[in-house]
């Protein structure tokens, strides 16, 4: 094509007219930041001791989940499928299920299979419960191996629901209510959180508090395992199955995400009578404070001075650096709970979360963001649910922002708009080690502030004229 013609079309793509056209589409989805249910189920499995993710479906699906998760965590990721093919579509997938259990048991010797489905096994109508049950009866699946199962159709929800359904199945299947009453321990459910640093930060806070805790599903070690010359298919440090059995007798469960744990939270309180407390993801000062208050309330312990000092240091870093964020406009995207936290943090800093865009957000989520905006009257933003990154592109080309925050896929829009892009959420494929740093807690406040502010300063240094290229910033 002629350069002029290309430019003409490109310019048209940056107009209000194009934006309207773009926002009026009903059927095609373009660059959504959303994966499918089984990915969440498979991730959840990685948080449990000697557990093999077992997906009833084609092996192509599992290859995709493993690729995706390995790229983000930069770690091995084990999962198997029942390798369904055309015969499965005709005769059902039971035979593959039986053989799958048999082969995987012999080779990988798991203590648990976390069984999930794909669109194919859902559509052909395979009954997962009866496949697992018959596999046991016929001796393909040993009684010594747990096999909780969850339906995770790819055409419903996103990776968040898949995580929830699998976790729900694991706890519901293994959990055993004791007559001895409640322990003083608190369960922590991080939800679909691929920032390993967050889970480690939460554990650190609980240790400082002196609270007995149990993280479910804890993949902070299995997906961040040491390189020491030995490959372990099941690295140490995942949630122990014995602990899963007794977790329903712990005093309470704190869920650090709302939108990836709904089923699990309801099951814990309804079936096991456990207090299931959903808190806001502890991003920013306010939500971290709330998390600590919840810990204090549930444990009966005062917030330790050590954490109060950490808080002071975080506030110190914020107030010192706020001048670089104040009044700056941000477009943020990714999973809903992270977005609520990031919105709150940016507002605390005097930033303007101009666009909050969620490809898997609900109306509840929309209301939560609007309530946050309302509480800071000067910094109104816009929230978009069920929208994709091509929508986001139209937004930032017509109403510019200073920075994008979200997963790697946002880099295309950021480049077109010529604005920086800070990586957060899932997936991060193009930066190393980011997922090892928390955005939770007071440490997370310092990390976010460091990344955002230094990025702005880097740009200032890279683009200013010589006279303004100053030592002091």
């Amino acid at each position: 094509m002629e350069n002029e013609e290309v430019k003409k079309i490109k310019d048209w793509m940056n107009t209000e007219e194009y934006k309207e056209k773009n926002f009026s589409r009903k059927a095609i989805v373009i660059n959504p930041e959303r994966a499918c249910q089984p990915l969440g189920a498979v991730l959840c499995a990685a948080g449990f001791e000697n557990t093999m993710a077992f997906v009833h479906g084609s092996h192509g699906c599992v290859a995709y989940y493993r690729n995706s998760l390995s790229r983000h965590f930069r770690e091995p990721f084990a999962a198997v499928s029942t390798s369904l093919t055309e015969d499965g579509a005709v005769f059902g997938g039971q035979a593959n299920g039986f053989e799958g259990f048999k082969n995987a048991s012999a080779l990988y010797k798991p203590k648990m299979f976390a069984v999930s489905t794909t669109c194919m096994s859902e559509i052909i109508g395979d009954d997962l419960g009866s496949i697992v049950g018959s596999a046991r009866e016929k001796g393909h699946l040993s009684e010594n191996i747990f096999a909780p199962y969850a339906n995770t159709p790819s055409f419903v929800g996103s990776h968040l629901e898949g995580y929830d359904s699998m976790l729900n199945a694991i706890i519901e299947t293994l959990g055993k209510k004791s007559d001895a009453g409640k322990t003083d321990a608190i369960n922590i459910i991080p939800g679909f959180d691929t920032t390993i640093g967050n889970i480690n930060e939460v554990k650190r806070i609980l240790k400082i508090f002196g609270i007995n805790y149990l993280v479910l599903a804890d993949y902070s070690n299995t997906l961040d395992s040491p390189l020491n010359g030995e490959y372990k298919m099941y690295p140490d440090g995942a949630t122990k199955l014995e602990d899963v059995k007794s977790c329903v007798n712990n005093k309470a469960t704190i869920l650090l995400q709302k939108y990836s744990t709904k089923k699990t939270a309801a099951m814990l309180s309804e079936k096991f009578g456990q207090e299931a407390r959903v808190v806001k993801s502890p991003i920013g000062i306010n939500y971290t404070d709330e998390f600590l208050m919840t810990l204090s309330e549930l444990s009966g312990k005062e917030v330790p001075k050590e954490l109060e000092d950490e808080r002071g240091k975080a506030i110190d870093s914020m107030t010192d650096a706020q001048q670089y964020i104040h009044g700056k406009k941000f477009a943020i995207f990714g999973d809903p709970d992270m977005l609520i936290g990031l919105t709150s943090y940016l507002l605390e800093m005097g930033g303007i979360p101009k666009y909050v865009l969620c490809s898997n957000g609900t109306e509840d989520f929309e209301k939560e963001i609007e309530a946050l905006f309302a509480s800071y009257s000067e910094n109104q933003g816009e929230v978009y649910i069920d929208k994709d990154l091509w929508h986001l592109r139209s937004l930032i080309m017509t109403g510019p922002v200073d920075m994008l925050i979200g997963p790697s896929h946002g880099k295309f829009a950021a480049r077109e708009a010529k604005v920086p892009h800070i990586r957060a959420g899932y997936p991060i494929f193009d930066r190393v080690n980011i997922h090892r740093y928390p955005i939770y807690g007071y440490s997370g406040v310092i990390n976010l502030t460091t990344w955002i502010v230094n990025k702005f300063i880097d740009i200032l240094d890279d683009t200013c004229d010589d006279a303004h290229f100053e030592l002091l910033r």
Binding site: V6, Y18, A27, G60, Y64, P76, T82
Partner: protein, 478 residues
């Protein structure tokens, strides 16, 4: 040195002992010890179902069609038709680079999907597809075609995507092409390549008008180069220097416009035999266009390939080709002189897709390295026929090799480098074994052509000889 076949067989036998009898019988047929004299199928059985419950590296037909063959075609829109996941996972993860303004001339960096919900499964997705195509045509008026890549549900719920495609094509006046590449079809990506080739044959080939005045006796097309990290560009440079005129490149940085006029070329030059032999054969049968396989990994194979391609043309091309070889040989010798002493005798184990497990062997050998085992995800019998000749006697050749076998084999063969994909990368790195991703060139490349070899040599050296590997064991455990 005499090859101890018994010892190699013992290794395989030992690894297979972990399986149940039935699985063992199955897998035994897929792993063999190379003997240059024997037939490929005698060494490894291929292109059959994977064992359920075993961690196969294989993907699906959708991955073969959308991910491999059609995905790199930059001027068309590929719709991942069905639920959200498949398009998400195959979005920007293959490194098939393309020039051109995104959204106008180039749709490679996008993820387009009809995002099926439960109601689409229940009531069918044809109406949604029709609407989606209309919207795409409005939003991207310069797209030269719309390709419907079926995900699993399409074939299971009985949608008629062919009817939708036909209707919409007459409405929007650009090709709208339906592909039945549902992931459950076949046993691996390979059937997806075949299906995509057949669809190109039926919908694209021969549909373009050839400008006779622009035709030259040196017109060629490249088939089966996906421009990973810029491979097509470094290959085209050589062809151009040989005096050839590359009319089309399938499909890396390629376009449907080029595919439509490929039937006007003199020869098809085929790099990835596995994924595009079908269309090469079609051009030969229907248009009488001969095809030739070539290998642009490493100077030895490049030289061989340049000469065998030059032979097809006149003296003018042959002379120029010799000049090309003469020009690059000293540069390549410099690369070899620099890296060979650092890599001599190093042992490599490979597991890649359907071409590279044999095609890269020569490049390693140019650096003095030895490929002790090679394995394919989705090769067929004809690939194994070609493989036995490339490998040393006694090397282990495996088909659809799963993670368990790969790890156990590495424990016994003690390679200095493992060359495979992202799923395998961190497994071997945890074992302290240097690794390079050989699907994506590990975010480097190109590896094709003379320019590529220099990068390949540097990358293999830095993988194996990085000082960081020496830190794996702490002082107190040494």
């Amino acid at each position: 040195m005499a090859v101890n076949f018994k010892e190699q067989e013992g290794i395989v036998e030992d690894i297979l002992s972990a399986y149940s009898e039935r699985a063992k019988k199955n897998r035994k047929e897929h792993i063999g010890i190379n003997d240059k004299e024997t037939c490929g199928t005698c060494v490894a059985k291929s292109n059959v179902k994977s064992l359920p419950g075993v961690m196969t590296p294989r993907g699906c037909a959708y991955a073969g069609s959308k991910g491999v063959v059609w995905g790199p075609v930059k001027d068309v829109i590929n719709i991942s038709h069905g639920p959200i996941g498949c398009g998400h996972y195959s979005w920007g993860t293959r490194r098939n680079l393309a020039n051109g303004e995104a959204g106008v001339e180039n749709f490679v960096p996008f993820q387009f999907t009809t995002d099926f919900k439960e109601r689409d499964i229940v009531f069918g997705g044809d109406k949604k597809l029709e609407q989606a195509i209309k919207e795409l045509h409005e939003l991207f008026p310069t797209a030269k075609g719309i390709i419907i890549e079926s995900e699993c549900p399409i074939g299971l719920i009985g949608d008629d995507i062919e009817a939708v495609a036909k209707k919409m094509e007459s409405e929007i006046k650009i090709p709208v092409i339906p592909i039945r590449c549902e992931g459950f079809r076949g046993v691996s990506q390979s059937l997806g390549h075949h299906i995509a080739n057949d669809i190109i044959r039926d919908f694209v080939v021969g549909t373009g008008e050839i400008d006779e005045s622009k035709k030259t006796p040196y017109d060629v097309a490249i088939l089966g180069d996906y421009n990973i990290g810029g491979d097509v560009w470094s290959s085209m440079k050589i062809f151009k220097e040989m005096g050839l005129n590359v009319v089309a490149h399938w499909s890396g940085d390629g376009s449907i416009e080029e595919m439509k006029i490929t039937h006007g070329v003199k020869y098809n030059l085929l790099h990835c035999y596995r994924s595009m032999n079908y269309i090469a054969k079609h051009f030969e049968e229907t248009y009488g266009i001969p095809w030739i396989e070539y290998n642009f990994f490493g100077p030895s194979k490049i030289k061989e390939s340049i000469r065998s391609i030059a032979k097809l043309f006149d003296e003018n091309i042959q002379e120029k080709s010799e000049e090309v070889i003469k020009f690059y040989e000293p540069k390549m010798q410099e690369v070899i002189d620099k890296y060979r002493p650092r890599l001599e005798g190093k042992k490599v184990m490979m597991l890649v897709g359907g071409l590279r497990p044999r095609h890269i062997v020569g490049a390693y050998e140019d650096l003095g390295m030895k490929v002790v085992s090679t394995a394919y995800e989705f090769a067929h019998a004809d690939d194994y026929e070609r493989t036995t000749k490339e490998m040393e006697d006694g090397a282990i050749i495996a088909d659809d090799m799963n993670e368990y076998e790969f790890v156990e084999l590495a424990n016994r063969l003690k390679p200095d480098l493992v060359a495979s994909g992202i799923k395998e990368k961190y497994v071997f790195q945890k074992m302290g074994i240097p690794f390079r991703q050989m699907h994506s060139w590990d975010y480097s490349g190109p590896y094709h052509g003379y320019d590529g070899f220099e990068i390949f040599a540097r990358d293999m050296d830095m993988a194996i000889n990085s000082p960081s590997w020496k830190l794996v064991k702490p002082l107190w455990k040494k």
